[in-house]
């Protein structure tokens, strides 16, 4: 925390200041105190519905998938869906509304906060929510018979890292689209394929060769793999690769999101 000294504002400002970050988070935590009930409700009820519908529907046809009971295969896969939806939708809609309709960011940028700090703080908050709520499907799946495993403790971190990338992806989209309706294109053309072809509902090696290859460049696929390995046993070499892809995705999205948000927020 910055403390007031006699010459508090001498020299060059530091490139990244914690105070800017905590300032933005103060707003988020204040808002969250108002909305946590509905947010939590949605986060828990959605995976329950998935597991009930797909688990019992498909589960009666497919007992075992890749050597795992289908309901457990699904329960671990839906973590990624949950992370994707939490982060990408917050990034898109919330960021758009706050920038365009509420001018919240304009207000904040008149205070000692720079665009890159604002974007980092917003994405960090989205990722934290994604990391926490991403665990909900896992917990729900336990009621359907998934055995707890110590490896699962890394799931919030996997959710955070994935949520960071997709949250930033959403923020970037919010800076590109001309109006809020345009998100429909992104949801149909980008989000839906991402979430279907990630190995959530069926293994990607069931797909034709080209689609299987496409899945490998889908960051969500790497999230799904990491979560399954956390639940059923890590494969260290592969998992380092999966983490690497997610880090690369987040860094790339950060660079683009900051660049486009700066263009939109600074005339």
């Amino acid at each position: 925390m910055t403390t007031q000294t006699t010459e508090p504002f001498a020299g060059s400002p530091r490139w990244f200041e914690l105070a800017a970050f905590t300032g933005v988070w103060k707003r988020e935590t204040t808002l969250f105190r108002r909305y946590w009930v509905s947010t939590t409700f949605a986060a828990v009820v959605e995976p329950v519905i998935y597991l009930l519908a797909f688990g019992f529907g498909l589960g009666s046809l497919i007992a075992v998938m890749n050597g795992i009971p289908y309901i457990e295969f699904l329960g671990t896969g839906v973590v990624a869906t949950s992370v994707l939806f939490t982060s990408a939708f917050s990034g898109m809609f919330q960021t758009f509304v706050r920038r365009k309709f509420q001018a919240t960011y304009d207000a904040m940028l008149a205070a000692p906060v720079d665009v890159h700090e604002l974007v980092t703080a917003e994405a960090g908050w989205i990722a934290t929510k994604a990391g926490v709520y991403g665990c909900a499907p896992l917990v729900v799946a336990m009621f359907f018979g998934l055995d707890p495993a110590p490896g699962m403790l890394v799931v919030p971190l996997v959710g955070f890292l994935t949520g960071l990338g997709f949250g930033l992806f959403g923020i970037w989209c919010s800076a590109v689209v001309p109006s809020i309706d345009s998100f429909n294109y992104i949801i149909s053309a980008v989000i839906t394929p991402l979430f279907l072809v990630a190995g959530t509902f069926f293994p990607v090696d069931q797909l034709p060769g080209w689609a299987g290859a496409a899945a490998v460049i889908n960051p969500l696929y790497h999230c799904v793999q990491l979560v399954r390995h956390a639940a059923f046993g890590f494969e260290p070499l592969l998992d380092v690769l999966h983490v690497g892809v997610l880090i690369l995705f987040a860094v790339g999205m950060w660079l683009i999101a900051v660049r486009y948000m700066r263009k939109r927020l600074i005339d």
Binding site: M1, T2, T3, Q4, P8, F9, S12, P13, E17, A19, A20, T22, G23, V24, K26, R27, T30, L31, R34, Q102, A103, T104, D106, A107, M108, L109, A110, A111, P112, V113, D114, L265, I266, D267
Partner: protein
Amino acid sequence: MTARLQEQQAAGEEGAGTALALRGVVKRFGDITAVDHVDLIVPQGICLGLLGPNGAGKSTTMRMITGQAHLDAGSIEVLGHPVPAHSKHARAEMGVVPQLDNLDVELTARQNLEVFAHLYRVPRARRRDAVDRALRMAHLVDRADTKTDELSGGMRRRLLVARSLVHSPRFVLLDEPTVGLDPQVRQELWSLVDALRHEGVSVLMSTHYIEEAERLADEVAVMSRGRIIARGTPAGLRDAHVGREAVEYYGSPDRLGEVETIAVEGGLPTRRTGPSVSVLRAEHMPESTAALLGAGARRASNLEDVFVSLTGETVE
């Protein structure tokens, strides 16, 4: 630039300190030059009124001061901090009331202030006092826990001002703080600004209300089409450009035309004021001209006369 303006700027630069210095500032949006080589010095401790009609470039100037718009040329210094290089330091010591209300409608009045106490880095131990003080200044203590979208327009505007003061800034930017408010609420805001000035806070306030500039500003800079075309105290500008008194004549369009002709022949400037013609510099009116013009309503001249005679444009 007039000699007078140069003098004042020199005085400002050497005085107790400079709150704001703009030098040769240019801002273009495509073909539009929104701010066109503006030089503007605000000495510490004064309230400078930036007076200009719609589209003059007032808000654009303010956004460059906060680092929210890039400069195409020139330089800006806020409280000694170069902008945009050290813009974050400048913003930390500055309060900003934007033209458009951007309060957080989902939060209460108090929560709005708390968030900005964090953003402005008020130390933890002083945060609560700072928020309480801001609520008192805005007369919102009773409504502290009301959600912002349930406050009246005047209350919201007071909260917007309070938000800009929560960290006790040394310099405050007010972009048309009273536009669209009813006269009573406007008065309340005026006393708030007046109180700031008495605390030694420097203020740059844009407005297109002449009365506001006259009441609050120690000095006025007149802005038109991106340029500063005059600068001085309200009284000084009046004396320099339109004299001390004006006489208004009413009548049919033909009669008004006649009044204009007679006045110009007598060497006096005129301007249309709604249904009447005002003859300016009336304290120098020759006896003969007065006799020809007949009876009119004598009044003190005002900044609006200055503005119109400088720009040919009208303001509210």
